[in-house]
């Protein structure tokens, strides 16, 4: 169904009042679970994501072990009640693809060589979904890995840019995702700007792509600051206790 929605108004404001280069509101909390080795709760606009990290621990079954390094198993899962029409529990093709690209992005950044034959399990649960869950999940995973004390080259971070109403904008919201022209979620290592994850759907000219990529990288750096502050706060509060 084609719907006539004006995604950017005459003042350059988007449906939720943001400017074209503005992120949705982000809130991150580390160490929220008792059993997990590391955990993170993250809200990003209307998205709510919970991540638990377990490991490094022996990879089972054995035939999955890599004698030279650890494997990173990200498991992205949407709760049945996280979307408007209830989702059947269990993995579907979409969640398995997202799990794969997030696993691959994280493997680049974790110092996997330090833990041969091991597995690091990153469980990403989407509790409320509202466009951009893979970026939210990967960003929360970065914090949960740090909270678990897993050695990493950097804290990975993700953000999307896209195109709506003919303009390149930061971090698409729900309607923007449904009725926009293109979405470009990426993840980077903020220290080096290396691109760990990149997917693109839609229609962008070469020039628009370049602008969107730069915008997404800029978004990543903003989110990265929030990640670092969260981890620092957690660390200091623990210090304070001791």
């Amino acid at each position: 169904m084609k719907v006539d929605i004006k995604l950017i108004d005459d003042n350059g404001k988007r449906l939720d009042g943001r400017s074209t280069e503005e992120l949705r509101k982000i809130k991150i909390e580390a160490g929220v679970l008792h059993r997990a080795d590391g955990s993170c709760y993250l809200e990003w606009g209307g998205n709510k994501v919970l991540v638990a990290v377990y490991g490094p621990r022996e990879a089972i079954p054995r035939h999955t072990q890599n004698p030279l390094r650890a494997i990173v198993n990200a498991r992205y899962n949407m709760a049945a009640f996280s979307v408007e029409d209830r989702k059947r529990p269990g993995p579907d093709r979409r969640s398995r693809e997202i799990s794969k690209v997030i696993s691959e992005a994280l493997e680049k950044i974790v110092l996997t060589e330090q833990f041969p034959r091991s597995a690091i399990d990153v469980n990403i649960e989407v509790l409320d979904a509202e466009a951009g869950t893979r970026c939210a999940g990967l960003t929360a995973a970065g914090v949960a890995l740090a909270d678990a004390g897993i050695p990493m080259k950097d804290i990975p971070v993700a953000c999307a840019a896209g195109k709506i109403a003919g303009q390149v904008v930061m971090d698409l919201g729900k309607e923007e995702d449904n009725f926009g022209d293109a979405d470009l979620p990426i993840a980077i290592s903020p220290r080096t700007n290396e691109i760990l994850l990149l997917q693109m759907d839609g229609h962008l000219t070469l020039e628009e792509f370049n602008r969107a990529l730069d915008l997404a990288i800029k978004g990543c750096h903003t989110v990265s600051e929030i990640q670092k502050k969260t981890i620092l706060d957690k660390y200091q509060s623990v210090e304070g206790v001791e």
Binding site: L33, H34, R35, A36, G46, K48, L50, V51, A52, Y54, R57, R75, N77, A79, A80, F81, S82, V83, E84, D85, R86, P89, G90, P91, D121, N123, E125, L127, D128, A129, E130
Partner: protein, 260 residues
Amino acid sequence: MTLVPIIKRDYICKLATEGKRIDGRKFDEHRKIEIETNVVNKAEGSARVKIGNTQVLVGIKMAVGEPYSDSPESGVLTTAAELIPLASPDFEAGPPRENAIELARVVDRGVRESEVVELDKLCLEPGEKVWIVFIDIHILDYDGNLFDAASLASLAALSTATVPAARFEVGEDYPLPLKDPPISCTSVKFGNFVVMDPSLDEEEIADARLTVATDKNGDIRAMQKGLNGSFTREEIQKVIKVSLDNGREIRKQLSESTGK
């Protein structure tokens, strides 16, 4: 898996002979309970319950569907539980296994048999269209006693649920019609000791488990014995008594949290 529990068991039993529990509680005392409702926007109702470090999130979704042929004027209730690997290093991904199935079925019977959800008020067209109520139990952090946490979170989520009639274009939204719920209380037995609301340490060494759901009149609405130990007739009486006492307290807290 076998050696550590033996040492742990000896330690917990030794404490028990002194009348103590590993976390300092009395035998008939439950852990601190926190109930938070409306935690998920997309759900018609939701609640997160903490019992000690155990944390369970329940979301209610509704849809319009067909009734069962043997109850054409009743809504349909469906309960699913997943022991997702997020919650414990011992949970594995994949379709629900015995433990998750028992959990979902015990919560489901607690809700269904006590007719907490007034299914007869959820009919849209007899024999054709009724409301389907999905109770999805998400375990977030597993530190013992999932039965009570899942059951309480389900009741709290149902209490705050709205029938999304507008979204389905069948009228205006209204609160999900509910009756007074029974409260589940679980005890476990190890050696000759019976303790209420087991922590994970206690669950791991337990011989037998007994869940008792009681209503505000002090009547019994559901029971489930688990694990490969046994109870005497007297122990069962004792568990029922403790479940009634604690159930009364928890019912009060649920009522305060949900404003019902």
